[in-house]
């Protein structure tokens, strides 16, 4: 177990926590923020696995563009999830 392995396992655990948080939150804006954070963690994981191309694509599309699309969609509908 080197330090890199520990960091990667920690990143994956945080990624799963971000995914659970995105499903669990009732506030849809918070859910989108959790998805963006998970996407950023995934980009860092790609960088650690020596794939910087995929890391830039993931950070650009997953963390920025998808978040913007979701925020625009929430702005045009409702913010709270209903039962």
């Amino acid at each position: 177990m080197t330090a890199l392995t520990v960091l990667q396992v920690l990143l994956l655990v945080l990624l799963v926590m971000c995914g659970v948080l995105a499903v669990w939150l009732k506030d849809l804006l918070g859910s989108v923020i959790a998805l963006a954070a998970g996407s950023l963690l995934l980009a860092l994981q790609f960088y650690l696995l020596q794939a910087p191309d995929v890391a830039i694509a993931e950070a650009g599309i997953g963390a920025a563009l998808t978040t913007a699309l979701f925020v625009l969609a929430i702005r045009k509908t409702r913010r709270k999830e209903e039962e």
Partner: protein, 149 residues
């Protein structure tokens, strides 16, 4: 959007766009390329749409459409340049002209004037991706008229 979002967007807009242009320009030397750089520049457009409202960019729909057409056409034309050998043959590599400098074999720091058709194709794909993703975000922002809050 609030004052905080607008101020941070004003600060971040130029660095994000410049970094995207850098990623596209140095696609044949550093990690990244047309698709990634275009996505980064499109995220700058998304920043404007989210922070300042889509109405501010309403006139730019035509510009983005023209940019998309230019990118797609340039990519196809550059692919046809090497049709004497095969489709997608790199006709400019190693000829000494534009982007035609040869690289030494093995690890080297790299020069900007290498790669043949690759930098031009990076620019074409970058323009295409920037216009495509940007116009998608812009159209969704314009949906339903002006409701910036």
């Amino acid at each position: 959007m609030s004052v905080v979002v607008r101020t941070v967007a004003r600060l971040l807009l130029a660095p994000v766009a410049i970094f995207g242009a850098y990623v596209v320009m140095h696609g044949h030397l550093t990690p990244g390329g047309g698709f990634q750089g275009g996505a980064v520049i499109a995220s700058a457009i998304a920043l404007v749409v989210v922070a300042f409202g889509a109405q501010r960019l309403r006139k730019q729909k035509k510009t983005l459409s023209v940019l998309e057409d230019v990118g797609a056409t340039a990519f196809a034309v550059l692919a046809f340049l090497g049709i004497g050998v095969t489709f997608f043959y790199n006709a400019l590599a190693g000829t000494g002209g534009l982007f035609g400098q040869t690289v030494p074999i093995g690890p080297n720091p790299g020069a900007l004037n290498t790669g043949g058709l690759l930098p031009l194709m990076n620019w074409a794909v970058g323009l295409k991706v920037l216009a495509g993703l940007g116009s998608m975000v812009l159209l969704l922002g314009l949906l339903g008229g002006d409701d910036d809050r």
